[in-house]
């Protein structure tokens, strides 16, 4: 079959996959006694967009997990190496039901390692990844989520996307910093609030990413406190939070292993709850989940149309 036709069929298949209005919700049990408990469909009550939704499937920490690791390491060798070491340490500890894929985000998204539960190939890829190039997190996010969401939609496994980055907003190929062009223009007030471009990009990404359902995690190795980078980092936090994940920003080298450990722990504890949304609700859905097992934390806002 010609590859073009195959690709077209695949694309059509992807579009069709959204036909049943299914929400794949990352959920965590926050048990009062500190112990994580496994959820079951029977233990959950769902309210979606004002109507009651139906729990189709629940996958818990003992089910398979595909952890997609996207590395965007462009700036400082020592921080990147620390992160690689911390990742290697956590990966070595992962149970066999966790599969890892590795992507490189700088200079355009690229697959470095296909999903596997063998650790050595992943560790080798990590070791060999160079720290160079231009930051690629913002540009690569929609594509990476398109990839992970496709996997999420096609298979009954838990999926999480983790970005590990040390990027500065000044190291993007695209212009988000609005540099001074006319040095003789002494009354330029348009750069008084320089975060406008990055805020606009984040707002656009927020809109673009809203339909995706894979939880996003961001580990930033080098927190910066200038106004532009603060806006950028706040934007990353906003995007991760909107997709049901979380972000960690390291202000010192010592924080890096702890940040990696905490994100991995969070992902391992993640449930995937598939909920069928009521037929006649709007594309933007507010979700409420309740469980007899105790309080839950979960992504509660979804957008179905793309």
């Amino acid at each position: 079959m010609p590859r073009g036709i195959l690709a077209a069929i695949c694309a059509l298949g992807l579009m069709g996959a959204d036909a049943p209005r299914v929400l794949r919700v990352p959920v965590w049990t926050e048990a009062r006694d500190g112990e994580a408990r496994e959820l079951s469909p029977a233990s959950l009550k769902v309210l979606a967009g004002g109507g009651s939704g139906r729990v189709i499937r629940v996958l818990g920490p003992t089910d398979e997990l595909l952890l997609v690791l996207a590395l965007d390491l462009t700036e400082e060798l020592s921080l990147a190496e620390l992160a690689k070491e911390a990742l290697a340490e956590e990966i070595a500890k992962l149970p066999p039901n966790v599969y890892i894929a590795v992507l490189r985000a700088q200079d355009g998204l690229k697959v470095l390692a296909d999903p596997t539960n063998e650790r050595e190939p992943v560790l080798r890829v990590l070791r060999e990844l160079p720290v160079a190039g231009k930051a690629g997190l913002l540009e690569s996010l929609p594509t990476a989520l398109r990839l992970t969401d496709a996997v999420l939609a096609r298979s009954a496994v838990r999926v999480a996307l983790v970005y590990v980055t040390d990027s500065s907003i000044y190291n993007y190929r695209d212009d988000y910093i609005n540099p001074v062009i006319n040095y003789s223009d002494q009354h330029d007030l348009s750069r008084r609030f320089p975060e406008g471009l990055i805020k606009e990009k984040i707002a656009r990404l927020d809109r673009q990413l809203a339909p995706f359902q894979t939880p996003l995690y961001v580990i930033h190795l080098n927190y910066r406190s200038d106004r532009l980078n603060e806006a950028y980092q706040s934007g990353l936090m906003q995007l991760a939070s909107a997709l049901g994940g979380e972000s960690r920003f390291c202000r010192s080298r010592q924080e890096i292993p702890e940040a990696v450990r905490s994100v991995f722990t969070r992902i391992l504890r993640m449930h995937r709850v598939d909920v069928e949304a009521p037929a006649r609700v709007a594309d933007r859905i507010q979700l409420q989940l309740e469980s007899d097992l105790g309080p839950l934390s979960y992504r509660n806002r979804f957008q179905l149309s793309r």
Binding site: G13, K110, N117, P130, V157, D174, Y183, R192, Q233
Partner: protein
């Protein structure tokens, strides 16, 4: 559809042959592979892709608009009765970025990327200033109504009536009761029309009449409210190409052309404001990054820049000739100075300068175990090509002395001396050719970071810095050598020429310095939430090359005309013209700079050195709040200072005992270390300053939660030095006496910055509409920047400096037992002027250069931006921004009048504040991003 999906899955499975895990994870793996192939994320997929890729370019177009119709009338304009302050500003441009595509030839894909931006600006913006100029009667010689700063009549004396006083007692100081010279006031305090200098009269046709009466006593009578006109057009382009993964090339350039037309202070050629200026900036850089291995990276870069400016192109007439001022052939309007009135003309009215810089950098980073090593080398070379005459049409300074009662302050007036054409000092700049200065610097740096343990990281580094001194392409440099013998008087101090008589091409040595630095980051509690940081660094500053042609005196002449006694005889009369230079140029003889203010370069190896140390404690509190508490020290010595703070030819203050005898130029010069020179021009390059700064700070950052990012910063600091200040140093022989608060030290500064995405619209808790209303509710955000700073130290000065030229700057006296504070400081009275006194004639003031606790009014400013984004399809945005600068329309008070008058004529305005400044400015912006 399901058949298709199944087909994809099956294809993947067959290709991969993966067997481990359940069926679901196998499906996931195959889906991953299939999708990543489809999305072009795999190397083999990219290679197989033959069809032309779709080019996705993106960017933005924008317009920012400012117009006075949107603004508040500035407080300073409203207070002068103005109802409008013109403002028209348009700033517009675009950006386009994406893969580089040459149709049918090349598609950059992910390998070659470009970004190009254009920005243009057109503006007219009103400026306002309040100054003092002569009254209309004064211009005609009628001083009968003129009063001093206390409101007492100001007598103008006729220099032609000067005669020695036979009754003078030389053992007593000069006073009204014991005058050395007698002089008669003009009858009725009016200068007869026949006595008015014809050149001065012609020049006055270029001097505008008063247009305000703010006072007191006819002062502050000229309100300038005129527009400046500026334009600019610029481009920035960046190209980025990666080659074989491990090699990356980046190319960037920027071009900008600008025009600055400052607000004219006079509507004539005698305008003393800055001249109009054209700019041309060009920059380019090329960088190659080679990733040798995952743990080693090398980068090599080259950058070049050229910044050129031309000033005063439209003012190139020879006005001196038109005024009948003979002997002056230079272009531009002559610079007539008669303080305290606004001058006519200005220094540096015409200039052409190009600054070119070339920079090579090599940087290698590697990591081995817990050690990170960075080795870098840089080489910079700079050129300054400049034509920068200071006084091409001459400067003519007029003092009160020639129309005063000799030896008695608060008599006579500089402008009256101008009306008589009697200059006390004149100088011409004769520049035969531009100068082509060159210098270079190289450095090599080693930096080492060691993660000593999981709690402690140490880093240290050392930079070896090598700087070559300034040379001139054609060796057209001269300076005074303070050790060479001057043939004219056999004293030390003679002109030397670069590249001649055993002198090298440069006057200064090559400087080689080591700059160490070290620091640590420590988590003392074993808890990553708390970090202690400490650092230390020592650095040497480069000696800059300025645009002026300082240090070329033998090649470019500065004929100087000096009054033998500023109270008795002029340097020259305007009507007589300027005598021709005694010698033709170039004049490279050792005595060529005698009787001038000679250019003097420091020939030692001293170099400004800075040291800094800091300690901070950073703690991440619950709720994503980070609190940092810190302290910092910095200090420096051998900082470069200018003529206001350095005078190697100063007379020791002990000489003040000679009192009025010091007004005799010959006697005065005999007391100087280098009597053959009137003075030295060290042009902000004399390494003499010291400073010390101690600061503590608190920073609180609240990371984004519920759309809110907040940053608060407070700093308390104390900075002292021995050189800064608006008026300069009083005592050049006792630096300890000059150690006081830095003139610009603001002990308390506070800033608050916040970005808040309003909680409306999609994915927000409020007003999340599914229908058309979402266009109204979505995409609102607010940004705020507020700053507050306490005032700078008060710097007081006496009305008169009657020290015979011994003290360039005179401090005031402190009156013991009088509280300098007032109970409710305000515009009516900010400080108590009675706590200070005018020093007696020929004595130093005993107050410090800047007051230890009195400060000027504080400043605050609050800026706000409100943004609304409209989604246009999936990938496009229309963004509207309204920015309010000083949006609460706060008025910051002006500084109080710092001039302390003598007891018999106190300055009635001392301690008072005239008006306030500031006003709300609104800028509207529209940006379409695609």
């Amino acid at each position: 559809m399901r058949i298709a999906i199944g087909l994809v899955w099956l294809t993947g499975v067959l290709a991969a042959g993966q067997s481990a895990g359940s069926g679901e994870i196998q499906k996931a793996i195959e889906e991953f592979k299939a999708q990543s192939r489809m999305l072009g994320l795999r190397e083999e997929a990219r290679r197989q892709q033959r069809a032309p890729q779709r080019t996705r370019w993106h960017g933005r177009v924008f317009e920012n608009l400012r117009n006075d119709a949107l603004d508040a009338i500035p407080h300073e304009v409203r207070q002068r009765g103005g109802t409008k302050s013109m403002l028209r500003r348009n700033q517009f441009g675009f950006n386009l970025a994406g893969p580089l595509v040459v149709p049918r030839i090349y598609h950059g894909g992910r390998r070659t990327y470009f970004s190009i931006s254009y920005e243009g600006m057109r503006e007219k913006i009103a400026r306002s200033y309040l100054r003092t100029i002569p009254t209309l009667p004064e211009r005609t010689g009628d001083w009968s109504e003129t009063v001093d700063q206390a409101g007492n009549p100001l007598p103008i004396y006729d220099p032609l009536t000067t005669r020695a006083n036979a009754a003078f007692d030389a053992r007593q100081p000069v006073s009204r009761e014991n005058l050395e010279y007698l002089r008669d006031p003009f009858p009725g305090n009016r200068i007869p029309a026949v006595r008015l200098d014809p050149v001065a009269q012609r020049a006055l046709q270029f001097y505008p009449p008063p247009n305000a009466a703010v006072g007191p006593f006819f002062r502050n009578n000229y309100f300038i409210h005129s527009p400046e006109t500026n334009t600019a057009d610029g481009w920035i382009g960046k190209f980025d190409h990666s080659l074989a993964e491990s090699h990356r090339f980046s190319l960037s350039f920027s071009l900008s052309n600008g025009f600055q037309g400052p607000a004219p202070w006079f509507p004539t050629a005698a305008n003393p404001a800055a001249p109009e200026r054209e700019f041309r900036n060009r920059r380019g850089s090329l960088e190659h990054v080679y990733t040798i291995s995952p743990r080693s990276v090398n980068s090599l870069s080259f950058a070049a820049s050229s910044d050129a400016s031309t000033a005063g192109a439209s003012n190139r007439r020879t006005f001196a000739r038109e005024l009948g001022l003979n002997g002056v052939e230079g272009e531009g309007f002559p610079y007539f100075r008669f303080s305290p009135y606004l001058s006519m003309g200005r220094a540096y009215p015409l200039s052409r300068t190009a600054r070119n810089a070339y920079h090579w950098a090599e940087n290698f980073s590697t990591r081995q175990g817990r050690h990170n090593l960075q080795i870098s080398a840089n080489y910079n070379t700079g050129q300054v090509n400049t034509y920068y005459p200071q006084y091409p049409a001459g400067t003519f300074r007029f003092g009160a002395g020639l129309t005063s009662l000799p030896g008695i302050v608060n008599t006579g007036h500089a402008f009256a001396s101008f009306l008589l054409g009697l200059a006390e000092y004149a100088e011409l700049s004769i520049v035969g050719s531009p100068s082509y200065f060159r210098s270079s610097a190289a450095n090599a740096t080693l930096r080492h970071t060691w993660e000593a343990s999981s709690r402690l990281t140490l880093h240290w580094g050392v930079n070896f810095d090598l700087q070559t001194p300034r040379v001139e392409k054609y060796d057209r440099q001269t300076t005074v050598d303070l050790d060479a013998i001057n043939p004219a008087n056999g004293r030390k101090g003679a002109l030397i020429v670069a590249g001649r008589d055993g002198v090298g091409r440069a006057f200064q040595p090559v400087r080689a310095k080591l700059e160490p630095g070290a620091g640590l980051a420590w988590t003392p509690l074993g808890n990553t939430k708390t970090v202690v940081r400490a650092s230390f660094a020592r650095a040497y500053a480069a000696i800059p090359i300025y645009s002026a042609q300082w240090g070329t005196q033998g090649f470019n002449g500065t004929p100087t005309y000096i009054s033998p006694n500023v109270q008795l005889a002029p340097a020259l009369r305007l009507a007589d013209g300027v005598p021709p230079p005694a010698r033709p140029l170039p004049d490279l003889r050792p005595d060529a700079a005698n009787d001038t203010v000679a250019d003097l370069m420091d020939r030692s190896s001293r170099q400004p050195v800075y040291q800094s140390a800091s300690l901070s404690l950073e703690h991440e509190a619950p709720g994503a709040v980070v609190v940092t508490l810190g302290a910092a020290y910095s200090g420096g010595r051998d900082l470069l200072v200018g003529n206001w703070a350095a005078n190697p030819n100063a007379i020791h203050p002990d000489a003040l005992r000679f009192r009025d005898q010091l007004n005799d130029e010959q006697f005065n010069r005999s007391l100087r270390p280098y009597p053959q020179y009137k003075g030295f021009d060290v042009y902000s390059s004399w390494p003499l300053g010291r400073y010390q700064r101690n600061a503590g700070f608190l920073r609180v950052e609240k990371r984004a939660s519920h759309g809110l990012t907040l940053s608060f910063y407070y700093e308390v600091s104390k900075q002292l030095d021995d050189y800064s200040g608006p008026y300069g140093r009083q005592d050049h022989f006792n630096r300890r006496n000059e150690w006081s608060l830095t003139a610009y030290n603001r002990p308390h500064t506070l800033s608050l910055s916040c970005i808040y995405d309003l909680p409306f619209g999609a994915n927000k808790p409020l007003l999340s509409f599914p229908d058309w209303r979402r266009h109204l509710a979505d995409g609102w955000s607010v940004s705020l920047i507020s700053t507050y700073s306490s005032g700078e130290p008060l710097a007081l000065r006496p009305q008169f400096n009657n020290t015979g030229g011994v003290l360039d700057t005179l401090n005031v006296d402190v009156v013991p037992g009088v509280n300098p504070r007032v109970s409710h400081p305000g515009p009516a009275l900010w400080f108590n002027p009675l706590a200070f006194a005018h020093p007696a004639d020929f004595s130093m003031g005993n107050a410090s250069r800047t007051h230890p606790f009195l400060r000027n009014p504080s400043n605050q400013n609050h800026d706000l931006a409100l943004t609304k984004r409209f989604a246009v399809g999936r990938d496009r945005t229309l963004e509207f921004t309204a920015t309010g600068l000083n949006f609460i329309n706060h008025a910051n008070w002006e500084d109080p009048d710092p001039v302390i008058g003598p007891a018999n004529a106190p300055n009635v305005n001392a301690g008072r504040i005239i008006g306030s400044r500031g006003g709300r400015i609104i800028q509207l912006g529209l940006r379409y991003s695609f």
